[in-house]
Amino acid sequence: MLLSIKNLHASINGKEILKGIDLDVNEGEVHAIMGPNGTGKSTLASVIAGRDVFEVTAGEIIYKGKNLLKLAVEERAREGIFLGFQYPVEIPGVSITNFMRTAVNEIRKYKGLDPLGGGAFLRLMEEKKKLVELTSNLANRSVNEGFSGGEKKKNEIFQMAMLEPTLAILDETDSGLDIDALRVVANGVNKLRTKGNAFMVITHYQRLLDYIVPDFVHVLFEGRIVKSGTKELALELEEKGYDWIRKEQTTDDRYQISDI
């Protein structure tokens, strides 16, 4: 098993967001995580990635047999965890080329490999740029600076292609994308799917799942996975809406969790 999450509880500023998540992911699988706003989808992604603003209060995450919660953000990344950000950060002054070269070589160093030379690195960039249909001038610009929403998301997929993660978590990569950009993003993901890696696709809408077909669909609601199924569950959700989930759950109105 690649990833095993058991009874995961996490909070921010003393407020509990995840209230007991259980989830297993195997190599070669695509899991879709769906659910209304503010139910903890992004928090789950952040906790797996290791963002330190969230405190894990109970439970465990085992990744490749290791206690993931003990690893620093960059160690998790070097172990093959990639997070496609919902809101990619703009970093003026750092070129994508320099950024990716540093990342690729730090990961290689961690794995005991020699750094990639300039020529080999540029060839790798060219190859991956084609894969995600990234225009070449984008690569010379500062990371995400002045990028359109679509460009930012394409850039996330490009980085994913460069780093070849074992577990890629895409946090609402589809939000704000027009249909063409969505197709490019989905094509990128599909080309990168192998038997050895896994994807967690977090999305609001069923639309993305027309392009990235999941093996499993989970519905996250108020910090718990309340329903799991196959891709048909996504269609059912699309049809019935999240109110269907809401009605099924006994909710406590005192808990109004804002979008984190």
Binding site: A49, G50, R51, A72, V73, E74, A77, R78, F82, L83, F85, P88, V89, I91, P92, G93, V94, N98, F99, M100, T102, A103, E106, I107, Y110, S142, V143, Q159, L163
Partner: protein, 469 residues
């Protein structure tokens, strides 16, 4: 050195020295200059050295600098074997490197040269003898010896420095680099004076480097006057890479005539105490000046940038962007003052000072200030102080980049906004390199600076190839 007296620098000492050695100091003066010196020493007598009681010196305390004893350099010893001290490849006279050792202009044979295109460059002392009228028309005309005590003291004592004259309509084909090296076995107190005059519609790129060669304490009080004639343009770079025991008071006075343009870059990489006093006057309409600064300080280093821009005429534009990264116990001051006079309508002016404090013990005092006397202006100012962007840190680390490297990338990116403005490509690449090394804590004096010096144990070698610049 002749006249070297190693002691604490006090007002009384300066006054006594001036009284005793006036004949030596003014030996090469044209008649008007000695009178200028006498006036200046009187002003210095009234003003004294600044203390933190003065608003302009509130956050820069010279106590430690004054606690050391120094040799006061009045006149360089003629017997100094320049070749031996530099042992460097100062290229032949038609090249554009000008060397200064301990404030004095260094020449192999010719102290002052005239290039084919009419550009005159060399020793200011020599130029006073050869072109007294030209010097007299400018020297002391822009510097403030009335209210600034260090400038007054410099005017009284300084005997030499660099002189550059670019005639009307001449565009210097390559940048001129002034390399001011401080190297001596004893602590030095030095005062040098530079004068740079650009004729109408002329153009010059000037790279002005202040470097230490060893770890000996020094105290420099340098005044530079720069006059840009109508439609003249200057690309000006000030690179400061001094040892941690050095004190540098650098005052640069710019006067821009109508439609003159200036791009000035202050790059402070290292130094014990650096005080940059930059004063600029638009003396005609349609002038344009951009002043950029970056300072990277750590340990107990202190840097102080005082920038004053006087919009005395209409339709001028000025911009200031100063950025700092302060680590450990370092501190910095930014005082930006833009004065827009009553008749200076359609003025455009902005000031920005941004700082990153890497530790809780690093300190910044930032005061951008606009003083405006008419309504028809566009002015803005701002100052920010913060830490590295934590979202960006997380983003970089999520891609496998370690915390240290991520910090480095972000700090470098932050500095790059200023460094990116350097218009001379090889210089920009060199500075980028130096900044990277500086941020990694690798850059010490002499190492890897534009001088391409080696370690303090090795002789200085100037291997920078100006033909590539």
């Amino acid at each position: 050195m002749q006249g070297a007296v190693k002691q604490c620098i006090t007002k009384e000492l300066m006054l006594t020295l001036y009284g005793d050695r006036r004949a030596v100091i003014s030996a090469n003066d044209y008649p008007g200059l000695t009178a200028l010196r006498d006036d200046a020493i009187r002003r210095f007598q009234e003003l004294g050295f600044p203390t933190t009681k003065l608003e302009a010196w509130k956050h820069t305390d010279l106590k430690e600098s004054f606690a050391k004893e120094y040799d006061v350099v009045l006149k360089a010893d003629d017997a100094v074997d320049v070749q031996k001290v530099f042992r460097c490849n100062i290229p032949h006279l038609d090249t554009a490197i000008m060397g200064q050792l301990n404030g004095e202009y260094v020449s192999k044979d010719v102290p002052l040269m005239t290039l084919g295109n009419g550009i005159i460059m060399g020793s200011l002392a020599e130029a006073m003898k050869k072109y007294p009228a030209l010097i007299e028309a400018h020297l002391g005309k822009y510097a403030d010896s009335v209210t600034d005590s260090f400038t007054a003291l410099n005017t009284a004592f300084s005997r030499d420095g660099v002189f550059i004259y670019v005639p009307d309509n001449v565009k210097s084909p390559k940048p001129v680099q002034i390399i001011n090296v401080i190297h001596h076995d004893e602590n030095l107190f030095l005062q040098s004076r530079n004068l740079i005059v650009l004729g109408k519609n002329s153009r010059l790129s000037l790279v002005h480097c202040d470097d230490s060669y060893n770890h000996q304490p020094s105290f420099s009080n340098v005044v530079t006057e720069i006059h840009l004639g109508e439609h003249a343009f200057m690309d000006h770079y000030k690179l400061q890479n001094l040892n941690n025991s050095s004190t540098l008071i650098s005052s640069v006075y710019f006067q821009l005539e109508a439609a003159a343009g200036l791009e000035s870059h202050y790059i402070s990489l290292n130094g014990g105490l650096l005080r940059n006093n930059l004063r600029l006057r638009f003396n005609g309409p349609h002038g344009n000046a951009n002043i950029y600064g970056i300072y990277l300080m750590d340990r107990k280093q202190h840097t102080d940038n005082q920038v004053f821009v006087d919009h005395a005429f209409p339709d001028c534009t000025s911009g200031e962007l100063f950025k700092g990264i302060l680590d450990e116990h370092s501190s910095a001051v930014f005082n930006g003052h833009v004065l827009v006079e009553r008749n200076a309508v359609r003025t455009n002016a902005y000031q920005s000072n941004r700082n990153i404090l890497l530790t809780e013990t690093a300190k910044i005092n930032s005061k951008p200030f606009l003083e405006i006397y008419n309504d028809d202006v566009k002015c803005s100012h701002g100052s920010t102080t913060g830490q590295l962007d934590q979202d960006a840190m997380y983003y970089l680390r999520q891609r496998g980049i370690g915390e240290e490297s991520a910090r480095m990338l972000l700090m470098y990116a932050y500095a790059d906004e200023v460094i990116g403005k350097i218009a001379i490509d090889p210089l920009r690449r060199r500075v980028e390199d130096m900044v990277k090394k500086r941020l990694q804590g690798e850059l010490q004096i002499c190492e890897a600076c534009v001088l391409h010096c080696n370690t303090p144990e090795n002789p200085v070698e100037f291997t920078i190839d100006m033909t590539k610049i």
